[in-house]
């Protein structure tokens, strides 16, 4: 991790305007993410974390404020997103899905083939490259989604609860796989989750958000050395404490928004 700021979010606010009632998704959010940093945004549903990510992904416009993603190379796209469970495109084969970003950029065929092959291998889908996603399990589909984003080689990666729909065992396996691919590329990642365990395992820094309207309420550094494993994180007493701290924050938020 360098000290260079990769993602800079300044005073971002998003309001969803409807006749008679407007909803503030989040208000005055400022955040900086360093080059090579893995940051998890954690918060209850309704805290606007997905909306924040979608703005960075170019899928929504902010109501006010600004953000910037600094680019090191003209060749790379600024960002690529790993979507929630249904993000793989059913009419493209596994291979075509992984190559999607590269194909959309109309890069040389030979380069696309090589790059796709590398990431198919990394996520263990090489033998399934000609199949359609519907022939695969949920875990395999998310591997496609992850491979597609990494293969596109963007400046930053955005991940929107990619493992939320998976069963517990598959989730653990994919989290560790993600860590291992990430450690090879050291991409800057902004990752959204509502799972505290997931955030503790994956990230360098956890940013807690509150709901209605979404705001950043707390930040926690995760000092566990990498490479990390699930067992390490679970066995670490400090992490157990961190878990409690985060939980207390979130619990207050959830209670408050209930009442």
């Amino acid at each position: 991790m360098s000290n260079e700021v990769k993602i800079s979010i300044e005073d971002l606010t998003k309001v969803f305007y409807k006749k008679n009632n407007s909803v503030t998704a989040f208000k005055n959010v400022s955040l900086e993410v360093k080059e090579g940093e893995f940051v998890c945004l954690v918060g209850p549903s309704g805290c606007g974390k997905t909306t924040l990510l979608r703005i960075l992904a170019g899928l929504e416009h902010p109501s006010s404020g600004q953000f910037s993603i600094s680019a090191d190379s003209d060749f790379r796209p600024l960002q690529s997103m790993v979507f929630q469970e249904k993000g793989v495109i059913p009419w493209l084969t596994v291979e075509e899905n992984v190559a999607f970003g590269l194909n959309m950029r109309h890069l040389p065929k030979e380069f696309i083939r090589k790059q796709t092959d590398i990431y198919l291998k990394k996520v263990g889908l090489r033998n399934f490259s000609k199949l359609y996603p519907n022939e695969l399990s949920g875990g395999m589909k998310q591997r496609i989604s992850i491979a597609r984003a990494f293969a596109n080689d963007p400046e930053i990666l955005l991940m929107d609860e990619p493992f939320a729909a998976l069963d517990e065992q598959n989730k653990f396996i994919l989290q560790e796989e993600l860590l291992s691919i990430w450690s090879e590329t050291k991409k800057t990642v902004l990752f959204i989750t509502h799972s505290i365990d997931e955030a503790l395992l994956l990230s360098d820094r956890i940013v807690l958000m509150s709901a209605h309207p979404g705001k950043i309420v707390h930040e926690i550094k995760v000092p566990i050395p990498r490479p990390r494993t699930m067992e390490q994180v679970r066995a670490n007493a400090e992490m157990a404490e961190q878990f409690i701290t985060i939980w207390n924050h979130l619990q207050q938020e959830v209670q408050r928004s209930r009442g």
Partner: protein
């Protein structure tokens, strides 16, 4: 339950095997029913005509229709009618389906186009193309082209409507993926909208195929000098009912054949389903 030796009376594998066999028999009997039903109808018809329950002048027995079919087939006249009709169906079908798909995709993708064109589609759709046949004949004459236009007009609507529905049914997340990965409008059209709409679009095409057959017969009855519809109509007027039935059965056969072909095609071009 256990016998004296303490073994289970029911071996679980055997139980399941029996169960599986029963299922197989059930499946096979379902297939059999599908084959039996048309044969049964024909058989009842044959018996009723031969015993005089049905008036043989109006309902000639199927066996007589079959022999008439061979007579007509050997003197070559039948093939002229069939080929003329098939040509009109094929040409009219394509002339309806292709603009239907293109306009449907554009309507599905671009809201302004959709809002502009959909009232026109909705207003024109309820008018039976056949009711427009007199006008179509004035414009295009009584030759092949007027029939082709009539079929195209009937086929267009189900295709355009289903294509729009197909595009609108594409999951939003797939549109987001395309946008996030920087798809150009052209890639968006061909890689996302077209394949995404394809399953629903094909249902419209299937419907269009059935409508094409309905339309060709009626169109040829009203203003034509050849074709299966013409054969049916002239045979009826000349009270040659066996020949008329040959025409009807041909239409039914082609409808069945086209449905099977399209379904086979569907598996080929929508392999991800």
């Amino acid at each position: 339950m256990r016998d004296e030796k303490g073994n289970g009376l029911f071996d679980p594998y055997e139980t399941e095997q029996q169960e599986w066999k029963k299922q197989q028999v059930k499946e096979r009997s379902k297939q059999l029913l599908t084959i039996i039903s048309p044969i049964l109808i024909l058989l009842i018809w044959e018996i009723c005509s031969r015993t005089g329950i049905l008036d043989i002048r109006f309902f000639p027995p199927p066996s007589a229709i079959v022999s008439t079919f061979f007579e007509l087939a050997t003197n070559g006249l039948l093939w002229t009618h069939v080929s003329v009709s098939l040509y009109r169906i094929a040409a009219g079908f394509l002339l309806g389906v292709i603009p239907g798909i293109v306009i449907g995709l554009l309507m599905g993708l671009y809201a302004p186009i959709r809002h502009f064109i959909s009232p026109i589609v909705m207003a024109l759709m309820p008018i039976p193309t056949l009711a427009l046949l007199p006008i179509i004949i004035i414009f295009f004459g009584i030759g092949d082209f007027s029939k082709i236009v009539t079929i195209a007009g009937s086929v267009f609507f189900p295709v355009v409507i289903n294509t729009v529905a197909g595009v609108l049914n594409i999951e939003k997340v797939h549109l987001d993926v395309a946008k996030n990965y920087g798809a150009s409008p052209k890639d968006f059209f061909f890689k996302i909208a077209f394949p995404g709409a394809l399953p629903v679009m094909l249902e419209g095409i299937q419907m269009g195929q059935a409508i094409a057959l309905l339309t060709i017969v009626a169109a040829e009855m009203m203003g034509a000098t050849s074709g299966i519809g013409y054969l049916i109509w002239t045979s009826y007027k000349a009270f040659m009912l066996k020949e008329m039935f040959v025409g009807l059965i041909l239409i039914s056969f082609f409808g069945f054949l086209f449905s099977l072909l399209l379904r086979g095609l569907q598996k080929k071009i929508v392999p991800w389903r």
